[in-house]
């Protein structure tokens, strides 16, 4: 059972119109795609969103892929000739999340949503809009403002047979649920000797937005990463948002899905057929030769913007969106390191104890011999995110810094 998808010629719309526009990136429309026959139940060859085809999967990896995911192909589209103009449909990232959620709720009546304002209000970022009308108030539950308790309630429901999706209105609010996430979500499968599974999905928007202030601009991935027993993924495109949402809901493990406040309005064309994205895999965004740039979530776009500049200057960066924050996909990352011998990590987490810090350690431990130069990690400053726009801009990594870093690495 494999993940796979007919590539999306992703035209990612430029995001936002604010003055400090760091989101200019438009993905290139891909060149005419090769067609791949759709075989029922077989593995697809992964067709990456920028049009390049990743044939790097060795048989073992492909077999690993086959183990997990069954992309159910739409029979009507199975003729090879039609796939080069496969329509798919265009939507925004938050709509992709909703689509994924709705499809899973249709598929399995045990899937339910709980959170603040998810029901009648439709979600503070509209991810659950319309779902309460369709599925009812109990399946899309508007909770009182009690994160610790309703997250715990989700865990209790998961233990007794449901598959809840708990929304934190802002990821930062889940700090209040840390007790339940750490003690119960991560641990109960183990302390119960494997008797109870907790197939819960905890999701919400995080990251630094536009002058939202310190408390609404937190990156909780660094705080949660040590909790044993959970998986963490971060989505960055409508395609992987829907795929990861679906995979997370279907997973028997507790999964924390990190979304980003500024990415909800990204537009992309995604396939019509059912697909999921493997929770443990990284995504090759742009293959290259000179340097490996590892990133996730919003920083992917800063990296791609810097990549344009770098390409003009003659560099050939390989950009990987790690997607799986815990565990790391050391295969994709490792293959890249072995090819380029230089690593730059670009993340929005804080310098101290962030995802980048763990990733640096993991790469050093596993691929030390392949590195020509020490790993460079660009993270956000260790400051509470200031309100002032200029200060906020200096808190996070900007494309210019990425360019400088690559130049330095490749000296």
């Amino acid at each position: 059972m494999a993940t796979g998808f007919h590539g999306v010629g992703a035209a990612v719309a430029a995001l936002s119109s604010s003055p400090s526009n760091s989101f200019d990136s438009k993905k290139l429309l891909c060149s005419p795609r090769r067609s791949f026959p759709v075989r029922k139940g077989a593995s697809f060859v992964a067709d990456r969103s920028d049009g390049s085809v990743n044939l790097d999967l060795n048989p073992k990896a492909r077999r690993a892929q086959q183990l997990i995911v069954n992309a159910v192909a739409n029979k009507a589209d199975s003729s090879p000739a039609s796939s080069s103009s496969k329509p798919g449909h265009e939507l925004l990232l938050f709509e992709a999340l909703r689509e994924g959620l709705e499809e899973e709720m249709d598929r399995d009546p045990r899937v339910c949503v709980m959170g603040e304002d998810v029901g009648h209000y439709g979600g503070s970022y509209k991810v659950t809009r319309g779902l309460a009308e369709k599925f009812g108030d109990l399946r899309v539950l508007d909770t009182p403002i009690a994160e610790n308790s309703f997250t715990g309630m989700g865990i209790g429901a998961a233990m007794t047979g449901l598959r809840p999706v708990v929304e934190g209105m802002n990821m930062g609010f889940l700090l209040l649920a840390f007790n339940q996430i750490s003690n119960n979500c991560g641990m109960l499968h183990y302390t119960s000797g494997g008797q109870f599974t907790i197939p819960i999905v905890i999701r919400g928007p995080g990251g630094v937005g536009r002058q939202l202030g310190a408390e609404h601009s937190q990156r909780l991935e660094s705080y949660f990463q040590s909790i044993p027993g959970i998986q963490m993924v971060a989505c960055s495109t409508p395609y992987n948002a829907k795929g990861l949402m679906k995979a997370a809901i279907r997973s028997e493990n507790p999964v924390i899905l990190f979304e980003h406040v500024l990415l909800y309005n990204l537009k992309e064309r995604i396939p019509d057929e059912d697909y999921i994205c493997n929770l443990e895999e990284a995504e090759m965004v742009r293959p290259g030769e000179h340097v490996t740039i590892l990133t996730y979530s919003r920083m992917r776009y800063h990296v791609m913007q810097a990549a344009k500049t770098l390409v003009n200057k003659g560099y050939d960066p390989e950009v990987i969106d790690i997607r799986s924050l815990k565990p790391f996909d050391l295969h994709t990352i490792g293959n890249s390191v072995k090819k380029t011998h230089r690593v730059l990590i670009v993340e929005e987490c804080m310098r101290t104890g962030g995802i980048g810090a763990s990733l640096t350690a993991a790469i050093t431990e596993n691929f030390h011999d392949y590195l020509d130069t020490p790993i460079m990690c660009l993270s956000s400053q260790d400051v509470p995110t200031p309100y002032a726009g200029t200060l906020e801009e200096w808190t996070v990594v900007q494309p210019a810094q990425i360019v400088t870093a690559v130049e330095q690495l490749c000296k």
Binding site: A64, P144, N148, G156, G193, G229, F328, L330
Partner: protein, 432 residues
């Protein structure tokens, strides 16, 4: 020696159904939503007002249910609260709890179990009174003082003892320990070390029950959840948040407070602005009941109503059981702060002695029958210890086995395979 059943020192709030008047006078609870008569039997409890509370805790008289029953008995044919079978069942369960905990203490001091062990001696009436009324599919959530809840719910003594010894045959494969007893088969959802942590989980289990009935259309799903916790927990946010949610959605849950007056060394009265915990129920729109937790029959009567309410879909109930732990907070607690006179008072109300007396006086059982039960339990506990002793300790390969339900969560290794597919994985370390 005072008879346990007649010490009438509790105030229990009856249920006047006055939806229109709300008073703050603390002698009446007004239940905001009219429902069926709750707890008909508590009509026998007189209304009392308790504006003062002092360390001796009570100064009112309340007629206990069983007292009334005794009085009736002298006049006409007896209407006892329990049948002989039920009586023996209750007795056996309480004796099991007591004997097991005493054995735990012994084993701890002999170095067979370690860590924090919290014993339940003295509180057996609450566990037996409530849990023996449940079906297997009903759920129980407990705290770190969970051995006896596990036993009452049906987890075999062998499995609990093995778990305490840290053996693979324990109910949680030795991975949980004293404070984390779980049983899927018996729907025991834990065993939590942090107080208050289990209450949201219990709320979730109750939510599932309601969801199954209303969304999944399993019309006969009337599973009830019991959440047990102590007086200290009643000052914790999770308690209040869950009272709110349970009442809001009318979840089939009973919140059972085992008020033993002490949270390690902190007296309930020193920690709580209003120590009457049962009053906090009506503040959220659910009935709040106080009951003598040293009397298993009284607890059972209250429990019947509360569980019945939940099963009928009428919503949650808060039950405060006044009880006492004869031992310290845990086996590591020297228990120096509690007044010996207080301990003696409660020791005189030992629930097992009380039930024994009741059974014999009402000719429900003979001394010999009770002795047989005690002997049987001794054998069960001895057998449990033997079983635990002989069971194997977990091997190294067990370390990583239950971290993830789906072990793909350990990720993809550098060679492209999932780590869990590597046969040597269990010998390695589980880093990312």
């Amino acid at each position: 020696m005072a008879t346990a059943f007649s010490t009438a020192k509790f105030s229990t709030q009856p249920f006047p159904l006055n939806p229109t008047s709300t008073t703050s006078h603390d002698s009446s609870i007004v239940f905001a939503r009219p429902t069926s008569q709750f707890l008909g039997s508590t009509r026998k409890f007189r209304l009392t007002s308790s504006s003062k509370f002092n360390l001796s805790r009570r100064s009112k008289t309340v007629v206990a249910v069983s007292d009334v029953v005794k009085q009736k008995k002298s006049k006409s044919s007896p209407s006892l609260l329990i049948t002989k079978e039920e009586g023996l069942d209750l007795y056996e369960d309480m004796v099991l709890g007591r004997a097991f905990e005493d054995m735990c203490a012994q084993m701890y001091y002999r170095g067979k179990m370690f860590g924090f062990v919290h014993l339940y001696n003295g509180q057996e009436a609450v566990s037996t009174g409530f849990i023996k009324l449940l079906k297997q599919q009903d759920s129980v959530v407990s705290t770190y003082r969970d051995h006896v809840h596990a036993l009452s719910k049906g987890v075999p003594a062998r499995a609990v003892m093995s778990e305490l010894f840290g053996k693979t045959t324990g109910c949680c494969r030795g991975q949980g320990g004293s404070m984390h007893m779980f049983s899927r088969e018996h729907n025991l959802l834990g065993g939590f070390a942090f107080i208050g942590e289990g209450i949201p989980v219990a709320t979730g289990a109750a939510f599932t029950s309601k969801y199954k009935r209303e969304v999944l259309k399993e019309a006969d799903c009337d599973h009830v959840t019991l959440a047990f916790f102590g007086d200290g927990t009643c000052n914790n946010g999770q308690f209040f948040e869950c009272l709110n949610m349970a009442a809001l959605w009318k979840l089939p849950i009973v919140f059972v407070v085992e008020n033993n007056l002490w949270a390690i060394g902190m007296s309930h009265l020193r920690a709580t602005s209003d120590p009457h915990i049962y009053k906090k129920g009506p503040a959220f729109g659910m009935p709040g009941i106080h009951v003598d937790g040293m009397d298993v029959l009284k607890v059972r009567e209250v429990a019947k109503e509360a569980i019945g309410r939940a099963r009928r879909g009428e919503g949650p109930t808060l039950v405060e059981c006044e009880t006492y732990r004869f031992r310290g907070h845990s086996l590591a607690d020297p228990d120096e702060l509690r007044d010996p006179a207080e301990k003696a008072r409660y020791a005189a109300r030992d629930p097992i002695t009380a039930l024994k007396k009741y059974l014999i006086e009402n000719s429900l059982a003979s001394e010999a029958e009770l002795k047989t039960i005690e002997k049987k339990i001794d054998e069960v506990v001895e057998d449990a210890v033997e079983f635990a002793d002989e069971s194997p300790v977990p091997s190294r390969s067990q370390l990583l086995e239950n971290v993830f339900a789906d072990p793909k969560g350990f990720g993809i290794g550098p060679d492209g395979r999932y780590r869990c597919e590597d046969p040597k994985f269990t010998e390695g370390t589980a880093h990312v």
